[in-house]
Symmetry: C2
Subunit: 137 residues, 2 copies
DNA sequence: CTTTGTGCAAACGATTTGCAGGATG
DNA sequence: CATCCTGCAAATCGTTTGCACAAAG
């Protein structure tokens, strides 16, 4: 635990971010959950027991973390931006009913040849979004 | 042209939608462009020469068209919902610089085997999002 | 004539911003 | 001690809603 905390501090520092309690808390929270929370989800979670961080700060922390590629945005739903501390390439599954999002490891899907597509574009990457219904629905 | 107009009228009727000038205009506009406009883009375009439709009506028309599967939402950018009259399965390319979105025909990419993924999900479909830089950037 | 759509303006929810005070390196 | 961050509240942006009037079938 202490080790993990230290690791987070080092990671933030190595990206040139100041380590503040709020920023630490946002990133730590995102690292320990896998449910792709919204900014508001994180805010609620952090302030559940005691006030930890304000709304504006959560937003700006997420922005800072995104700018240094420690978190990524996940856009699979209208009107909400979700966040993911898993920045390795991977795919997503989204449940049509409950909206739950799950990660799919990169290797679980066959590779798609996106480089022979068009000479008009410089292709840099891709990802697959799978949709369907999850077990709870 | 007249033929095309008639076709649009028939399509709307066959989906049980009343044919109003505004709804017609929104759908026709979406059919003749391929740039995945936002609701506001459409509004601007329609009212460019003469006032044709109000903001609320464009939104409600798009909602109606989406409800009967004549248009689909495209979510590849934070905060904006884009619309596409191409409802056939296809993939998307998005330019990292200018945000432009282009369609990729379904057959242009190799199939991904998404059905052997997990027994926890009932997989219904998928699509690939390719990102990179377009020729103008 | 019944039902549904339109337009306006106000309401809404998520995110951003301005600014004064506070913490970090 | 200079710089960057935080918190608050107000502002902004895209979208939705309530309601009175108008149009469609």
């Amino acid at each position: 635990m202490q080790q993990q905390a230290n690791h987070i501090v080092q990671t933030l520092k190595s990206k040139g971010l100041r380590v503040t309690p709020q920023r630490f808390a946002v990133y730590a929270n995102l690292l320990e959950r896998s449910d792709h929370p919204t900014a508001d989800d994180i805010l609620m979670d952090l302030n559940q027991t005691a006030p930890t961080s304000s709304q504006a700060t959560v937003y700006s922390s997420l922005q800072a973390l995104r700018d240094v590629s420690l978190v990524r945005e996940v856009l699979l739903e209208e009107g909400v931006c979700r966040y993911d501390a898993n920045v390795e390439p991977h795919h997503h599954f989204r449940c049509r009913c409950c909206g739950a999002i799950a990660d799919i490891p990169w290797d679980a899907l066959s590779d798609v040849d996106v480089h022979s597509l068009s000479t008009k574009w410089k292709v840099e990457g891709y990802e697959v979004t799978v949709h369907g219904v999850c077990d709870r629905c």
